[in-house]
Symmetry: C2
DNA sequence: TATTAACTAGTAACGATTATTATTTAGGAA
DNA sequence: TTCCTAAATAATAATCGTTACTAGTTAATA
């Protein structure tokens, strides 16, 4: 995705398309490692040496609020981020601290269909968060 | 579950059955709110006024290592704990910061069966972590 | 181009968690 | 039972990811 598209994405979400926000969203969309704010900051510094770590945090928070970005909590002690593309799940290994996307439309359908029929008392599902813990081979 | 059973549980797991560990496990098993270490500490203080917060943290870590306790990460900024009984899922609302157990053997079977047939390349599942985000009514 | 609300940089502060260390204790051996 | 010792705890300092603060800057609109 090029810069124009990113700027449009931001504007559509009601956020000012600042250089910093474009840089953060761009960097996050380009990686598959689900970086922390700090990792993202270090990456962005190479292209944008004056950006502040606090800005990266604040930007991620703003992007999260408008739904362009998702925070992923794992067993590790910092938050990792995910540029939202489509519904997917995650594979995680705590020893390696490795986190990967897992796309599985079949499983997604199965779970979605399940909850179409089975309603939970006193709870309305907005989002399904599935993390598979295990070992990468 | 009474104290004797808790002590046995600890011994079976290879942990010394100290008063502190019994108190922590007992308190965690008695609640359904999935408390944080600090909340648990405050609860335990009433019965055990000399226990230290650091001990609660360390104890939870030990119990987690042997599989008697599970850490639950949510959108909120602290870790919540769960005395493991049987496989279950969680319902969570970020605004209310409310976290509840969700038992659903049907869904559990569906997912387990799904992964009996469908293997993920280069990944062996050890545990399935499902959080349903939504609104309590 | 001028205006201004929104945003950012730099840094201090916060708070959940972990590390440290002197003291205490659980559980096995004598 | 008493003794012994490795393991655990209490108290508190330190850590570190994240957030708050504030003076200065900028994107977007007229």
């Amino acid at each position: 995705m090029n810069k124009k598209d990113i700027i449009e994405k931001l504007n559509k979400s009601g956020l000012k398309a600042t250089h910093q926000r474009v840089a953060v969203l761009d960097a996050l969309m380009k990686t598959k490692t689900h970086p922390s704010a700090e990792e993202l900051y270090k990456t962005i510094l190479k292209q944008y040496p004056t950006i502040s770590l606090a800005t990266v945090y604040k930007t991620l928070e703003s992007l999260k609020e408008v739904g362009l970005v998702r925070a992923i909590k794992t067993d590790c002690d910092y938050v990792r981020y995910d540029a939202i593309t489509t519904n997917h799940f995650h594979l995680y290994n705590p020893e390696q601290n490795k986190l990967e996307d897992y796309y599985d439309n079949d499983l997604k359908s199965i779970i979605d269909n399940y909850f179409k029929n089975k309603k939970i008392d006193n709870f309305e599902i907005k989002e399904i968060n599935l993390q598979l813990i295990g070992e990468f081979k």
